[in-house]
Symmetry: C2
Subunit: 267 residues, 2 copies
DNA sequence: ATTCACACTTCCACTTAGTGGAAGCATAAG
DNA sequence: CTTATGCTTCCACTAAGTGGAAGTGTGAAT
């Protein structure tokens, strides 16, 4: 940790250091992959160098390792793109996350007659990891794998409600709070108040905040390894506030069952 | 593998070494991710140790790094699963691979009236990276992201035809040649002969080798960064051998256009 | 056609960052 | 409560990784 000679007033350049007990080169490799994803899946070596501040040879060596494993490809122009092997990995991850959940969502959708969704937080956004459409759903309002802002969705707010306020503020500071509809909460203070209400009443409401005409009730999945939430959503016409009275207890029961499943998966 | 005691004659323990100029710890981290994917997305630390032969502390340190980046999660049981961050990465990779291709596939499907597919090799299997369904296709015979054996599909054989025979033999040695239908080629020698024919005539035929009643014509995409193939497929009733006369030139022209696109993507 | 400039790749001496044996903790089983 | 099992931390050693400098290829400009 701090082998500081101390006498030197300035700390010896902490920079953006990797937390101790971790592997620097692996962390750097991951940073490169993330950068490429941010850049739309493609980047030149020198661009990566500019964005990381790492010397070219270091990046080149890391990229060669990723290349040999199929995690990146190299175009004849020498630019790099994310490689095909990542598809499999991502699918496996998605399957893993949604695996045990699907039966619960299907049962939930069948019982309540509306679409059930499971989402978890990934750094600053919520990702849908599983879904069961209701029989009479005209169209999907979302798909597995889609990422949504936390402040503007039922699952998002239900997830945030499980986090300390400080963490919530960090998240919205990083990604902002764009309005998806006129109903979207767009300032941090209102969001914190809303989260307090959610914690009190035990469930979140999204009333056209993500998409006009779509209402959604969501609850947290307690004790999930990654903060996770379960929701039921549908057109406001069918999904009224009286619907919540039926839906919320079922949601909460299912969330509790899901929690057990997620903690010790059937395998 | 073979930890031969032998005499001093053996080379000084090359073991399964990482090719020089690469980063050991990154390679190991990737190996861990791949192992987890193989194991269905979940594994205990000790299982990983057993499968890699690496000491526990080493694995633990690598996993901690992956954990802090969201590439793995840890269950309360302390077992590890692939993490949500991989979903995004996989999607970005898939989008990247299929991005420029979709317009070409759509045009192809429109012109020929059957489903167009683009697949590339990922180590031992072919992965579908883009697809355009024909208007009157009743159902999908495949989906983007699906992995198929190379020896039993049109795209697979068209990809193999771009590789040296030695590489082809390595692949089938690793994954075998299971029969999907009675038509599937199931021995290496016949496969090599088939590939020779494909190289000569310039396109591959899959006549019910993957699924009974489905015929498919496929061509390689020359000069793609990763060996890639383009195919058109449909029910044998509609996709006859006379159809090939129309389809193959169009396929080849599209493959050439695609090659340019893949080499210098539209930013 | 030849030169220049830029970007990627290879080389190699230095040393930091990674390694792994051994000890320390939890948690689950007996 | 005791033992067993499996995860986590510690730390001295050194192999593995790093990055400055030199080399190579590619594409643009003259």
């Amino acid at each position: 940790m701090e082998s500081t000679p101390s006498t030197e007033t300035t700390q010896p350049e902490p920079r953006e250091k990797v937390a101790s007990g971790q592997v620097q080169s692996v962390d750097r490799a991951i940073e490169l992959l993330e950068l490429m994803a941010d850049a739309g899946g493609e980047a030149a070596l020198s661009e990566l160098a500019a964005n990381t501040g790492l010397p070219l040879p270091t990046i080149h060596r890391l990229m060669r390792t990723l290349l040999s494993r199929g995690y990146v490809r190299q175009l004849p122009s020498r630019r790099y793109t994310l490689g095909p092997r990542l598809i499999r990995l991502g699918e496996s991850a998605g399957r893993q996350l949604g695996a045990g959940a699907r039966p619960y969502l299907t049962a939930l959708a069948a019982e309540l007659g509306e679409t059930a969704n499971l989402a978890m937080i990934d750094r600053d956004m919520a990702v849908y990891v599983a879904q069961a459409a209701s029989r009479h759903s005209m169209r999907m309002f979302t798909e597995v794998g889609r990422r949504v802002f936390t402040h503007a969705t039922g699952v998002g707010k239900a997830v945030l409600a499980q986090l300390p306020d400080a963490t919530v503020l960090e998240i919205v500071a990083r990604v902002g709070m764009p309005a998806a509809t006129p109903q979207t909460i767009t300032d941090p203070q209102s969001l914190l108040e809303e989260l307090a209400k959610i914690r009190e009443r035990g469930y979140a409401i999204d009333d056209g905040e993500q998409e006009i005409g779509v209402r959604c009730f969501a609850v947290g999945v307690p004790g999930a390894p990654t903060p996770t939430a379960l929701s039921i959503s549908g057109p406001s016409a069918r999904v009224g506030y009286d619907f919540a009275e039926t839906a919320v207890p079922v949601l909460q029961r299912t969330a509790a069952d899901l929690a057990k499943e997620l903690i010790s998966p059937t395998g």
